[in-house]
């Protein structure tokens, strides 16, 4: 059939219009703010499990995968490990585009809650693999934090802890021995130790990598809980104001780390990784606030180990000193390092469950713990080999003496409060805010949320 020129022009225009309409339709179908239908990132292959996270590190993850696939040769695990900032971008993009990986690394609280609707409750999986009393395997604080932020009445576990940790201080035992001092147990001890160490040499007495918001917060939480255990969490729950005298006092002690010269000059510009830890491992600092994970420096599978880190020979862990008028004993602050969740739309949930449970408490977990990456979320799991008595003694102290006694969370529930506290602490450290103003700035953010 031959159309006249006018009709043909009209047909052409209609064709172009139809094409444009199709493009527009496709665009609107994927518009912002919509909830996309999920599909597995693995493309629906039931013998492939996809895993994305920022932790454990790539090399360790490969060993865990090899351990699982050796026992299950027909299974493929497709894993990608990112740096944390890149990971949260990747996860958010995948979650909003319907391509969540089967297993994802999560932090407790805000991050887990953000993805809660897209994650599978894990009780059934845990019961199938570990039995009805599966919860007794875990450190209580890990399970408690795994459900942090769940809506009232929602008792599901959308993530289970893989690794847990304490946050604490580490001392360079050689520098302290040379100066004839012990790790400080009280605030006065800390002041005296810093004075002695400053006179003893060029090393920083107390290296505070305060550029990182997370580190500012964990140091503040140790101070605040040593002053008045649990008060900051009451403030976050709205039970007491942030301007409570004890919380303001905690901000004041944070401030004194800077005004009394306890922290090194320029602390707000020093990040913990890589610069802070490099300085500490090189012997340029006597004390540093980090956490239990520092034991990973003595991982025997590492190609190079610094002399101080060899078998943890040069280090001693200790808790933040007690404060005048505060709790008589230093409080243990800690919680989950990394937790794992399973996508609600995993292609093969049972297989994903098998991988997850193997990595938390099976052969994969043993491989992970052999690298001293951090402390296991389950009790009774130890490295198969220690490289020194000191390493074993520190491991025992962290896993058996400290971790079971961790009562206070190293996290705030809300990312807004987490950021507000970190900003307030930076303001105090920089001399821009008084402790009272810092507390008021956090309260202002809390009021906005309410």
């Amino acid at each position: 059939m031959t159309l006249p020129p006018t009709a043909r022009r009209q047909a052409t225009r209609r064709g172009i219009q139809a094409g444009l309409a199709l493009c527009l339709g496709a665009t609107l179908a994927a518009c912002a703010g919509s909830a996309d239908p999920e599909e597995s990132a693995g493309g629906g292959d039931e013998q492939t499990v996809t895993f994305r996270s920022w932790s454990p590190i790539e090399q360790t993850t490969r060993q865990m995968i090899d351990s699982f696939t050796e026992a299950n040769p027909d299974v493929t695990i497709d894993a990608t490990i990112f740096n944390y900032p890149e990971y949260i971008v990747d996860l958010q993009t995948r979650a909003s585009s319907g391509t969540m990986p089967d297993i994802v690394g999560l932090q407790p609280g805000a991050l887990t809650q953000q993805y809660r609707e897209k994650l599978m409750p894990l009780e059934e999986c845990a019961t199938r693999v570990w039995g009805d009393d599966w919860e007794s395997r875990f450190h209580p604080v890990g399970l408690e934090q795994a459900r942090m932020g769940n809506p009232d009445g929602d008792e599901h576990y959308y993530a289970l802890p893989l690794l847990v940790q304490t946050v604490n201080l580490w001392a360079n035992a050689e520098l302290l021995d040379a100066a004839g001092i012990e790790p400080p147990a009280t605030w006065e001890d800390l002041q005296a130790a810093v004075a002695t160490l400053r006179d003893a040499g060029d090393a920083a007495p107390f290296l505070l990598p305060a550029k990182d918001g997370w580190l500012r917060n964990v140091v503040f939480l140790q101070i605040a809980n040593n002053l008045e255990p649990g008060r900051v969490y009451q403030a976050e729950n709205g039970e007491v104001p942030w301007t409570d005298a004890r919380i303001v006092e905690a901000f004041d002690y944070w401030s004194r780390l800077f005004t009394e010269g306890i922290a090194q000059d320029g602390a707000l510009a020093l990040d913990s990784y890589p610069n802070g830890v490099n300085q500490f491992e090189a012997g340029n600092a006597a004390m540093i606030p980090l956490g239990a994970w520092w034991i990973q420096q003595s991982d025997p599978s590492k190609a190079e180990i610094a002399p101080l880190s060899e078998g943890m020979a040069g280090y001693e862990p200790f808790l933040f000193p007690t404060l005048p008028g505060g709790a008589p004993e230093p409080q243990l602050v800690g919680g989950i390092d990394v937790a794992l969740g399973i996508s609600a739309d995993a292609a093969n949930p049972d297989l994903a469950c098998d991988v997850l449970t193997d990595w938390i408490a099976g052969d994969g977990a043993q491989v992970l713990i052999n690298t001293f990456n951090d402390l296991p979320a389950v009790t009774g799991l130890d490295p198969q080999e220690f490289t020194s008595d000191k390493q074993e003694q520190i491991w025992t102290q962290l896993t058996q003496d400290w971790m079971p006694r961790v009562q206070w969370s190293r996290y705030f529930q809300s990312p807004e409060i987490d950021t507000a506290v970190a900003d307030a602490l930076a303001g105090v450290a920089a001399g821009q805010l008084t402790p009272q103003q810092a507390a008021e700035s956090v309260q202002a953010v809390q009021d906005q949320q309410d």
């Binding site: 900032p85 971008v89 993805y115 707000l268 950021t419």
Partner: protein
């Protein structure tokens, strides 16, 4: 190349007027379809990678959305909140500082280096490479290195300052809210001066030597020669660097992130770092998208303002 001066005659298509002879409709349609076929791939790519993200961002900026769950319409609330947000005001002030304090020093230093290295200096190729080297390094690497250099406790500059008694070298520039943004700007100037130098070198080599010689014969001295002859001839280079500088300033992220993370207490925050924090750390994707939309408006607005002020020919290198 912005400094290129074209001598090619531009063939202009005859202007089609309503009174001219009309081509047959069938041929016109076929030509149009062929033309559409040629531009379709570019249009499709433009639509997918430019138009769609812009539309998506604008739409997201009108939502209260964490980027994962279904968002709820928020109207213009995000924009209202942004206008009242003191941290956003800081990012605007820092962006203005960044534009002012990077583009001019980079251009001045870049021109000075280019002028020196455009002579018959021995080893000039080595010098050119050395001065350009920072521009090819990753901003992350540059940030980590400068963080170590500027560390007032154990950094190279602080140690040098203590050894020589020059106190100014021992100050904590990155951790002081009053100096943090300036310190990052200085590192940025160090990093990108070689890039400006390369532009000016290319521009200088295209300057007509006859004009320069004529000026010398007329008695122009060194500074007069630079100010009255060379610099005006390099106008397309200046303008191209200005445009690239403005756009580069608005999208700077990595260097600030590694050196200060926008701190202390947001003192060195720029729009891209604040956007990232809001969208991905605070789970306020809608608010982050709002910052992105404002950033886009500022970038497009400043580019259009430049095109309107100076015309588009400085980009092609054509003389008016």
């Amino acid at each position: 190349m912005a400094a290129y001066t074209s001598d090619v005659q531009v063939t202009r298509a005859p202007r089609v007027t309503g009174t001219g002879p009309r081509r047959p409709a069938r041929r016109l349609t076929r030509e149009r379809l062929v033309a559409l076929g040629f531009i379709a791939p570019a249009v499709a790519l433009f639509a997918v990678f430019v138009v769609y993200p812009i539309v998506f961002n604008i739409q997201a900026s009108l939502l209260d959305w964490d980027g994962v769950s279904a968002g709820t319409p928020a109207g213009l609330d995000n924009y209202r909140d942004l206008l009242a947000d003191p941290t956003f005001h800081t990012t605007l002030r820092n962006s203005a500082l960044w534009i002012g304090l990077t583009i001019v020093p980079q251009a001045a230093l870049g021109f000075a280096l280019a002028w020196l290295l455009n002579t018959r200096l021995r080893g000039r190729t080595v010098y050119r490479t050395l001065f350009f080297l920072p521009a090819v390094l990753s901003p992350v690497v540059v940030g980590i290195v400068w963080q170590r250099l500027l560390d007032p406790f154990n950094g190279v500059l602080a140690q040098l300052g203590r050894a020589t008694g020059i106190d100014v070298l021992t100050r904590a520039y990155l951790s002081d809210p009053s100096t943090a943004i300036i310190a990052v700007i200085v590192v940025n100037v160090w990093m990108w001066t070689g890039f400006s130098m390369l532009f000016y070198l290319a521009g200088l080599q295209l300057v007509d030597h006859n004009v320069v010689e004529a000026a010398r014969i007329d008695g122009a001295t060194g500074w007069q020669l630079i100010r009255r002859i060379v610099l005006p001839l390099l106008k397309p280079t200046h303008l191209a660097l200005l445009l690239l500088g403005i756009i580069g300033s608005l999208k700077t992220f990595e260097l600030v992130w590694v050196l200060t993370e926008g701190g202390p207490n947001h003192a060195s925050e720029l729009m891209p770092t604040y956007l990232f924090k809001q969208a991905f750390q605070l789970q306020s994707f809608g608010y982050g998208a709002t910052i992105a939309v404002v950033l886009l408006v500022v970038a497009v607005g400043s580019s259009l303002a430049m095109l309107r002020t100076f015309g588009s020919r400085f980009i092609t290198g054509e003389r008016s």
